[in-house]
Amino acid sequence: MSTSRRQFIVGAGASVASLGALRCSGGCSAAKRPGGSFTNAAQSAALVPAYEPIELVKPDFPAEGPLPAGFLKYPQQEFVQVIHEKPGRGGPEITSMTAHWGPTPPGLGRNAFVAAVNDALGVTVNPSCQDGMTFGNKLSAILGARDVPDLLSVPSWEVDNIPRFSQAVKALFADLSPHLQGDAVKNYPMLATLPTSAWRNCVWGERLAAVPFPTNGPFPWALFYRKDLLDQLDVELPKNIEEFHRLGKELTRPEKGVWAFSDVSDMVEMYFRCPHAQGGWRKKPGGGLEFKYETEEYREAVAFSARLFKDGLVHPDLVASKGGDSKQLFMSGRVLMLQDGMGAWQPMQSEQQKVTQGFNMQPLPVFAADGGTPLTWGGGTTPIFYTFVKDGLSKERTEELLRVLNWCAAPFGSKENLLAENGVEGKHFTRGADNAPMRTELGREEIATQFALLGGRAPVSVGGGDTPNYLPDLLAYSRDAVKYLGENPFEGIKIELPPTYSKTITTTQDKIRDLVRGRRPLSDLDEIVEEWRRMGGDAGRDFLEKALAANGR
């Protein structure tokens, strides 16, 4: 499999070179190298750890397909301690880096939460929380400098943007297969509770290279609206894209400083049923793959997004500067509809209802642009984050780091999980009437993603506490949206995109942004897509078609 792919790509490089003796465009130099790789779904099954779930507390409803198990109310019983031996064995300080969306918490030495967790770990972790919005930039720099922390958590969507990521993994991160493969994982029983489908994505270059943070919901995006404010205006929720536009017009009141939308381009693409698998691919009826850029749906979506900008329905601060904070604008009611990840919902509701009486954010029920059957993006098993362990450490040290990850992966219902996510009772959180932890001021200040994002956890949804309606609302939305999930032909195949293709994604998005913002005429789309095909889009297509063929799909 890998030989033929190499030959294919070398062949492509030669044909580019023969077009002009001295011409060497972006495609050429990278095309000489074998770019990208994919696993065989069956092959990687042999590498993944055994799966042994632990149920510490009984959920109110079990997992339904891609929807994780959930607790409508916070469990009443005392949580149990699941790890009895401290992970630390006297090793030196452990450095870690995670993405965090929010204010940077105080660092080691000034943070009682970190101190408490370190105490439980028996080893000092010195965590670094980096702004999630610009994490990719930071990541690119530390990888290039080969200066990585002992434990590095990487958002999965950043991986596709980094050419040669698999080479970086090989050069910088430890091979975890001998430690975790198959039954070896039993030394780390909490890591064994992570689902197999998530582990399958952690295979790079035929070795297990990371610990997954499994996805806890199938949807990458949602469009949230301020239900409390929309109810006052007595407006109807849109059932098609024209109603959506009309609603946007109705909601936008510049003289009051209120605009309808943040940048909602991704959701607009979804409403127009653009394909999404592996960044936007789908199978053509006649065989072969087509990318979203090449579809009529995408063309319409771009035109519609451009209309939103042209009609001034997007908040000007978000148009004017990279620094604009869409979440803040939404919370303060200056933007009424916000495109964000599902994960933003519960924390934002919890935080803002303390400030704004009656604050109620809800995801807009999905619809299709033409009012027909909608398409929902998602349903993949790609983890949200990967945690890598630095290479070149001694066996003992690697094991110590894995024990730390094991501690962090203790499932919901354990004392360890409660500490990692909520800190110390009485200090960082107090119990509400229904036993749910409520963060104190100190808790909100000190607790970020320092430990919660290391090593993953078995996915669950937990309602109750100060967001009693969250879980029923989430379920209602999800049960509706999950019906329209598109199929993913790449499911279970771990794909490392070729570098040339990775690069075209960013440059092409940049050009398309010019169309959406009205700086270039929409008719330029054909030209842009043609450039994309030439610069690596077609190479990406060939590569992905090969990946499917090799897996017999």
């Binding site: 290039g144 910088l172 000007p316 601060d317 500067s321 620094g323």
Partner: protein, 332 residues
């Protein structure tokens, strides 16, 4: 700050005297005599070595398809990365986006040379004319302050004042007027960035000129005033010639930096007005080389910038000599 200025204003005569100090004795004797001086410069030399000369060696990656993940460490990565000759430069010069960035950078430099460069001089002359020392130091504090704000802050401030939801726009809407697009207008971007730069740095830029003005002998003014010269004549015949060497010096340095117009300011506003208007060489390197990890390409762009800068400095310096000024340095 004022010492190098005073030096550059020295007469050739005094410089010649300094150079003529006899280099007597053997190396050892000179070492014994000069070691405190050497010790004092050592930290600066070390700093220069570690942070300038050693990283400069990294420029070899401009001729490589540099792959940081080859080998066991950064040195092996250099040794094992493939040599591709001028491949990176060809790639750079064939990329229309590079030439867009190049053109934008030069246009902005030229524009700012005309509309920004003279402003600190004017401000310095104005400040110099303020008689009350108290008032002058107050004004100085006020105009220096913005220099210490980060670009993020400056741009947020501009967005809050002039943006589509900013103070001005809301005020206009309050009066039933349609606000004017300032922060996201690609055509007026060059004016906007210059205005921002002026707001931030005009005070800071005037410091050097103020120092130069202070070095002008006040008796010249008195003599001219006695001879009946008006304010304008004094400005024209005493003040401007007095600070001419400094103006030229800064102009030459600015020209050497012609291909750098700043980075954060453009990075932050690039999305608002688009690549076509806001891409300068530094953001080009960031988006096309650093983010997609094309290190060789980035190094090639940096080297290109350096060579152009060197050529500009040398020619501007030569021009300064031709005009009878010292310029940045002179052979002798």
């Amino acid at each position: 700050m004022s010492t190098p200025i005073a030096n550059s204003a020295e007469t050739p005569h005094s410089r010649a005297k300094a150079a003529a100090l006899p280099a007597t004795g053997s190396f050892k004797a000179r070492l014994r005599r000069d070691w405190p001086l050497l010790a004092m410069t050592a930290p600066a030399v070390l700093l220069l070595l570690v942070f300038h000369y050693v990283p400069t060696l990294g420029n070899v990656m401009a001729f490589q398809d540099y792959n940081p993940f080859m080998g066991k460490n950064a040195f092996e990565a250099f040794a094992k990365s493939e040599w591709i000759g001028i491949g990176n430069f060809l790639m750079l010069f064939e990329d229309p986006a590079f030439w867009d960035a190049f053109r934008n950078t030069l246009t902005i430099t030229m524009f700012q040379l005309v509309f920004f460069f003279p402003l600190p001089i004017l401000l310095a002359i104005l400040l110099n004319g303020v008689a009350s020392a108290k008032l002058r130091s107050f004004i100085q504090s006020v105009v220096y302050l913005p220099h210490f704000f980060s670009w993020v802050l400056v741009i947020t401030f501009f967005v809050q004042m002039l943006g589509g939801a900013g103070l001005l726009a809301q005020e206009l809407r309050g009066h039933g007027l349609e606000p004017w697009e300032i922060m996201s207008n690609p055509d007026a971007f060059i004016v906007l960035v210059t205005a921002e730069a002026v707001w931030k740095d005009v005070g800071w830029g005037s410091i050097v000129f103020l120092a130069a003005l202070a070095a002008i002998d006040p008796t010249l003014y008195e003599a001219a005033a006695v001879d009946g010269a008006t304010r304008w004549r004094r400005l024209w015949h005493i003040t401007l010639p007095g600070i001419r060497p400094v103006i030229l010096l800064l102009l030459i340095l600015r020209l050497g930096d012609a291909l750098s117009v700043g980075f954060e300011q453009y990075l932050l506003q690039r999305e608002a007005v688009g690549r076509q208007a806001a891409e300068v060489l530094d953001t080009y390197v960031y988006y096309q080389a650093i983010l997609p990890q094309q290190w060789g390409l980035g190094a090639a762009a940096g080297l290109f910038k350096a060579v152009v800068g060197l050529v500009l400095i040398l020619s501007a310096n030569r021009l300064a000599h031709a005009m009878g000024e010292q310029g940045v340095y002179s052979k002798s």
